[in-house]
Amino acid sequence: MTPLLQVENLSKQFRGLRAVSNVSFTVPEGDIIALIGPNGAGKTTMFNLIAGVIRPDEGEVRLSGRRLTGLRPDQVCAAGVGRTFQLVKPFGDLSVEDNILVGALHRRPRIADARQHAVQILDLLELGPKRYQIARSLTLPERKRLEVARALATEPRILLLDEVMAGLRPTETDRLVELLRDLNQRTNMTILLIEHVMRAVMALSDRVIVLDYGIRISEGTPREVVNDPRVIEVYLGSVEGSTAP
């Protein structure tokens, strides 16, 4: 069986800086995979390559065997990839419900139909009480959840989450972890996440891929990865205790 997402020999250079260097990995359907690594390791570049925001110099990305490389971001979304942004991008002047509605309209052209779907997702991400507020007035944790809700509303086959736990308190992190795991288990939603918060990585992911300077240096179960000497050296060894498990 072909894996849902295949990344093959992907490379991208920015003016001599090799942001991503010959990286390959696969994401099997229904799995939760975490992409970790120090700042500047190329994680967000990897997301932008998958989502069609930037084009790779070499290599390609496939979803269920279908080539995504060369498609525009909206076409990648249509193919079944939902994504969030590290720096959240809510539609600030729209209500929380309308933010999610815009996502839902992608596969449900009728407004009433899309709104009904949006309301379900609103409740799923526990944004119900904020339904009619304008998105600009939300707190950061709420904005992070809105980001996930909007991506989810496009009914993706795989969800790319870029640091959705950053800036959350531990209790909020645990709640979101629970939510995502629940989503994964109930709907078999495949998730690829970039995360610095090891607490979330350890609790959520089936496998972890470690990037450093654009190179994949390790891959395995969360436990294997945190015990890998290469990872400890380049990542955990060089970072403060807060990100340690």
Partner: protein, 333 residues
């Protein structure tokens, strides 16, 4: 149908509508012509608002579409005797084509914000210069429609009393309001708002931003050109220097800017504030015996500065909130 309005807002709107409908029965022709002008700016402002207020694409060259609508319908009338109700289709077609060229150029090459606005100015400007040299349309000397008894007074040729023009522009303004309301609550309307708020995020949720933005330009251009058709038959004279000028483009956007960009009632509200005040200023200066050409422009500039500093969201959202004419954000619709 105006689900944002409260009961009080609906009542106020209904009152205004009744007054406007009955106006020519009790007002003198001067007042009727002033309100005609108000409604014209409200209509064209509403049309511009589709591009800027909904889709977030700044056009500072909307005089282009006014001019094309005006010249196309006037030329058909003068040279071929084809009335404006038929001629407006040519005007709309030409304006949409011009909009398509600007939109495709701008959006295909990812020209955004100020640079896109400059592109729209450039198109209006070189069209102005081109029309200066089209002898068939009078060139820079102006193009004139027949007036007086010779022209007859057939509503089918849009020749008639001030009241006729008044009702035509009132119908256009109301039509534009209804159309914009429907657009705003349609799929494309939500796509526009998303693009306006954050283009990258809009693309990430599957919106083809090129197509959506182009649709906004085409609809806005077509609507604006109808304003041009009206202009031609109302004033009966067209000069490229006036109709295509940048200052005309600026004048067109003042009503929505002052009333509230992106709101449905902003352009109408803004026009009702601005045009009568400008008339009043001109009248006051004249009756004081002073000769100050350009006083209207100075007044517009001043009004704009005050708005930008004190009410950047426009006057309408503020007034509507204060008088409880619309529901507040956070309330259940």
């Amino acid at each position: 149908m105006f689900d944002q309005l409260t009961a009080r807002g609906c009542a106020a709107f209904g009152m205004l509508l009744l007054i406007l409908l009955a106006l020519p029965m009790f007002a003198d022709s001067y007042l009727v012509s002033v309100v005609t002008l108000v409604l014209w700016f409200a209509y064209v402002g509403q049309a511009w608002n589709v591009m800027m207020g909904f889709a977030g694409q700044l056009s500072l060259g909307h005089s282009l579409y006014v001019g094309l609508g005006a010249y196309a319908s006037a030329a058909l009338f003068v040279h071929f005797g084809i009335g404006p109700w038929a001629g407006l289709w040519l005007g709309m077609l030409l304006a949409t084509l011009a909009g398509a060229v600007i939109g495709v150029l701008g959006f295909r090459f990812a020209i955004r914000g100020v640079h896109f606005a400059l592109l729209t100015i450039a198109f209006a400007e070189f069209t102005r210069i081109a029309f200066d040299h089209i002898g068939w349309l009078g060139g820079s000397g102006g193009f004139f429609l027949p007036v007086g008894d010779a022209a007859g007074s057939s509503p089918f040729d849009l020749r008639g009393s001030p009241a006729l023009f008044y009702y035509v522009i009132l119908a256009l303004t109301l039509g534009a309001l209804v159309l914009c309301r429907r657009l705003l609550h349609s799929r494309i309307g939500y796509f526009w708002l998303a693009i306006r708020e954050d283009q990258e995020a809009a693309q990430a949720v599957g919106i083809d931003v090129f197509r959506a933005k182009l649709a906004a330009v085409l609809i806005s251009a077509a609507m604006t050109s109808l304003g041009g058709v009206f202009y031609a038959f109302f004033y009966n004279n067209l000069f490229p220097e006036q109709i295509f000028s940048v200052s005309r483009s600026i004048e067109l956007i003042l009503a929505p800017v002052i009333g509230g960009i992106g709101t449905l009632f902003g352009p109408i509200f803004g026009a009702f504030i601005l045009t009568p005040l400008a008339e009043l200023v001109t009248w006051a200066i004249e009756s004081a015996g002073l000769n100050m050409p350009g006083i209207k422009q100075i007044f517009y500039g001043l009004a704009l500065v005050l708005i930008v500093v004190y009410r950047p969201d426009g006057v309408w959202p503020w007034v509507a909130r204060y008088l409880k004419l619309v529901r507040q954000s956070g309330d259940r619709p």
